[in-house]
């Protein structure tokens, strides 16, 4: 195996993480709000339909509920470029976590999926005294370690780190990646998928979507103009953007707002896709004060430029468009199922007569949570 490198003009070896590559994409997501689990065939079918929205340089899936037997452990999915970096990373893991089980993620050879790195999976739990010593709870400790590995261990990339969930991604069309990871053998109550269309460079497996941190997973279509402002804002709160991709910074923003700052999801969405000042002016005094506070304290968290994202987390998924809806996004509901996709066709291929089908307005979230989960948390 050799490193997938990008050789640019001056012969400098620039890995994808060191420069920013704009890309368009396709996204899709399905959730069974009762929590019934189903295999990956439907999600693959949906993302495959939008084949032309990606260019074969990236595809990936997130699946929630696939490791019921390890649901209390953090399931780390890691790419290694070579064996040496694998052993170094495993030493780090051994120092910080109790490793319940480890092994490579089973894959099936698919002609179009080539140059795959080593793909390993570990079910771990943070060493308790390590967590307490750093005055951190386990989630904070785990996320710090993940960020440490991705930043300092060149050649190792933790591409999934949630509990009872996992992402499967790489270079190739999404349907081929799905087949490569044999997603038909997994059962999840919620799937999201992404097909990537990066403008240049042979893709790097780590660069594919979804991007994850702990239970968060984000698939994103579009390219945000406020990237550097968001990045430099989120880096002030302990995050380090290693991939320079939109999904990375969006995920960190949600993690910071909801997990670290304990901001209710509905309010976090008002930060990410803030209402316009003119609209705020028309609201009642109390709401005005709230939104003015949001827009002044979290001004740099406003994501500007086109985006349609599906944010997955253990409670369910949330789809959101930028506040002037510069990207397409369709949602539909049928019995316990909620479908979301970049195109209506990608929904209809799975469910031709939905009870409800609509295109959410700019800045207005589609919230599909498991039954019983609180909507405003």
């Amino acid at each position: 195996m050799y490193d997938v490198l990008f050789i640019c003009m001056e012969g400098l070896m620039l890995k994808e993480g060191e420069l920013r590559i704009p890309s368009g994409c396709a996204i899709s997501g399905i959730i069974d709000k009762k929590g019934n689990r189903f295999n990956g065939e439907e999600i693959i079918k949906s993302i495959a339909l939008m084949h032309d929205r990606s260019n074969g340089l990236g595809g990936g899936f997130a699946a929630y509920g696939i490791y019921p037997q390890y649901k209390d452990f953090y399931a780390l999915h890691i790419f290694y470029d070579n064996l040496t970096i694998k052993t170094q990373t495993e030493d780090f893991l051994a120092k910080h976590f109790d490793i319940e089980s480890a092994g490579n993620i089973p894959t099936k050879p698919v002609p179009s999926v080539i140059n795959s790195p080593l793909i390993w999976r570990y079910f771990v739990y943070p060493r308790t005294y390590m967590a307490k010593e750093g005055f951190m709870d386990e989630a904070e400790f785990t996320s710090k370690c993940i960020i440490r590995i991705n930043k300092d261990y060149k050649g190792a990339h933790v591409f999934s780190s949630g509990k009872n969930m996992g992402t499967f991604k790489g270079v190739g069309y999404p349907e081929d990646i799905g087949e490569f990871f044999m997603l038909d053998t997994y059962e999840a109550y919620m799937w999201t998928a992404h097909g990537r269309f990066p403008t240049n460079t042979p893709g790097w497996w780590g660069g594919a979507h979804p991007f994850t941190l702990l239970n968060w997973s984000v698939v994103h279509n579009g390219e945000i103009s406020s990237y550097d402002a968001n990045r430099r804002f989120v880096e002030m709160y302990g995050y380090k953007c290693t991939l320079q991709t939109d999904t990375e910074v969006i995920t960190y923003l949600f993690d910071m707002l909801v997990r670290k700052h304990k901001i209710p999801m509905r309010k976090a969405i008002k930060i990410i896709a803030a209402p316009f000042w003119d609209d705020i002016e028309r609201l009642n005094k109390e709401l005005q004060n709230e939104l003015k506070s949001i827009r002044s304290v979290y001004a740099n968290a406003l994501i500007n430029g086109p985006f349609s994202i599906i944010l997955g987390y253990e409670k369910g998924m949330i789809a959101l468009n930028d506040r002037i809806k510069l990207r397409s996004l369709i949602a539909a509901e049928k019995d316990d199922r909620t479908y979301i996709a970049s195109e209506e066709s990608a929904i209809r291929i799975l469910c031709n007569s939905p009870d409800k089908l609509w295109a959410p307005k700019g800045g207005e979230p589609v919230i599909a949570l498991l039954e019983g989960e609180q909507e405003w948390d």
Partner: protein
């Protein structure tokens, strides 16, 4: 003292075919350059008095006047240039400190002109400000670490006071005394109509202008001129002036002849007395003293007014700014070495202080590294010449900019650099009633409104071009900048890529 080596700097050329001897120039030149010879019915000029302020050129009904550099040349010498020689002539004549006005004119690199802006092509759409909303509103003031909500999702955190600016532009501090009452009124009325703020400068606030309080930032400088409880409560925010870009480390000196009845009442100093503001605040000899002053001002205003702290852009600006934030300031104001002044020693103006672009980049980066950038607003000034400068400043990390020289130019200033004489022909930097009258606030405030509105439209165009529809998303967004003609070091300090990367 025998010979006077001084020679004219400018030559006034009158086109006799066009001159109709209407003597408008004679009546309007406060420096008495033009005079009418009734015997020969001809208007003649005394070049040495000319400061090239263009008053006569603009008002001449037949456009018969041209002002040019006085053709007298010294022998070519790149080291001993004519201005260096003339300065020595002047100082050997007067023995005095050379005084001059406006910002540093030296040909140091102007980094605004060496940065280029981004625009969206294909991968994200540019936004058309005529069809889509385009927000330039900014909230200036201290910000809490984070927002807390109760179980039902209701906001708990009580926000500290903010100054809402409809656009990221404010009129910089020009004291009541260095500039005229009418100039202040024009600035105040323009700020009110534009929904932004103007700064009173260190000369206090005339009671008649308290009604513009909502759009006023009152300054507290080392001289404490005109500072009292009502004054502090009159404005929307308070700005402690530690330094000024044009004269870092130097106090201010308003000559006694400019302290007439109105100025003396506003500044609370006797008529005709020289208003000298000391170099340091004599109650701030170190950073923790600043915290005391900040909180005493907040106490006086019942924590209802944000308190800014203005420093000159000097070598250690990044560390100083960080200290200011930790001292409890709600906004850090940094004034670059090109910032204007009514009067400052030429040597200081031309050699002290650093460019605002580098100071801003360093300060923004340092505050982010220390994770305190979001606690305060960062405002810069010191030669913002057009709206592109503003967009680049915001991209480097500024929340808003102050414009001073640009504002007075809109009021009629023609950069003749002789504000310190108090004979400003445009009625701006003068207290002589006859000259002050030439600045009619009813007309001039509209010029300011025109300028700033035009700039705001341009900002919206540039934002739209980058696919951004709110100025917040441009703040600190250094990917939107590319350097050109900059060395590696400058790129690093500005933390921007080179054009083509």
């Amino acid at each position: 003292m025998g010979l006077d080596f001084n020679t004219p700097v400018f030559e006034v050329i009158r086109n006799e075919k066009k001159c109709i001897q209407c003597q408008v120039c004679v009546r309007q030149c406060s420096n008495k350059v033009h005079s009418y010879d009734s015997q020969d019915n001809v208007v003649c000029t005394d070049d040495i008095k000319c400061v090239n302020c263009h008053r006569c050129v603009i008002l001449c009904p037949t456009k018969a006047l041209i002002i040019r550099k006085y053709p007298l040349e010294f022998r070519e010498n790149a080291n001993w240039t004519s201005s260096v020689i003339k300065e020595i002539h002047k100082q050997s004549q007067t023995g005095g400190v050379l005084l001059s006005s406006m910002g540093n004119p030296k040909p140091f690199p102007i980094y605004w002109d060496r940065m280029l802006l981004n625009a969206s092509q294909v991968t994200n759409p540019s936004i058309d400000p005529l069809r889509e909303p385009m927000e330039t509103k900014v909230m200036i003031g201290g910000k809490p670490e984070k927002l807390d909500f109760d179980a039902k999702g209701k906001l708990m955190t009580k926000m500290p006071p903010q100054v809402e600016l409809r656009m990221p532009i404010m009129f910089s501090a020009m004291s009541y005394g260095s500039i005229s009452r009418n100039a202040h009124e024009a600035l105040a009325r323009a700020a009110t109509e534009l929904g932004i703020c103007y700064n009173t400068g260190e000369g206090g606030l005339n009671r008649d202008f308290y009604k513009y309080g909502k759009n006023t930032i009152v300054q507290v400088a080392s001289g404490r001129f005109g500072v009292h409880r009502d004054y502090l409560n009159a404005g929307a925010a308070i700005e402690i002036k530690i330094g000024q870009g044009a004269k870092p480390g130097i106090g201010g000196h308003l000559p006694g002849k400019k302290v007439g009845e109105d100025v003396s009442a506003t500044r609370m100093i006797p008529i005709g007395s020289d208003a000298i503001s000391p170099a340091p605040h004599h109650d701030i000899y170190s950073i923790e003293d600043l915290r005391q002053l900040i909180y005493s001002l907040k106490e006086t205003t019942n924590y209802k007014k944000p308190v800014f702290v203005k420093i000159a852009a000097v070598h250690n600006a990044a560390a100083i700014a960080s200290g200011i934030v930790r001292a409890g300031a709600d906004a850090v104001v940094v004034d670059g070495f090109r910032g204007g002044t009514g009067a400052a020693p030429t040597r200081v103006r031309d050699n002290v202080g650093i460019p605002i672009e580098l100071a801003l980049a360093a300060i923004d980066q340092r505050l982010r590294e220390e994770e305190i950038r979001n606690r305060v607003s960062l405002i810069i000034s010191g030669s913002i010449r057009n709206s592109a400068d503003i967009v680049k400043a915001v991209a480097l990390g500024a929340d808003a900019v102050y414009i001073g020289s640009a504002a007075v130019i809109a009021l009629g200033c023609h950069m003749c650099h002789s504000c310190s004489t108090g004979k400003c022909n445009w009625g701006i930097a003068t207290q002589e009633l006859e000259l002050v009258k030439r600045l009619n606030p009813d007309i001039m405030y509209k010029r300011l409104v025109n300028l700033v509105s035009a700039w705001n439209h341009e900002i919206q165009e540039m934002l739209g071009g980058m696919g951004i529809n709110a100025i917040d998303s441009l703040r600190g967004n250094r990917l939107m900048l590319r350097g050109i003609g900059l060395n590696e070091k400058e790129l690093n300090i500005l933390a921007i890529k080179y054009a083509g990367e």
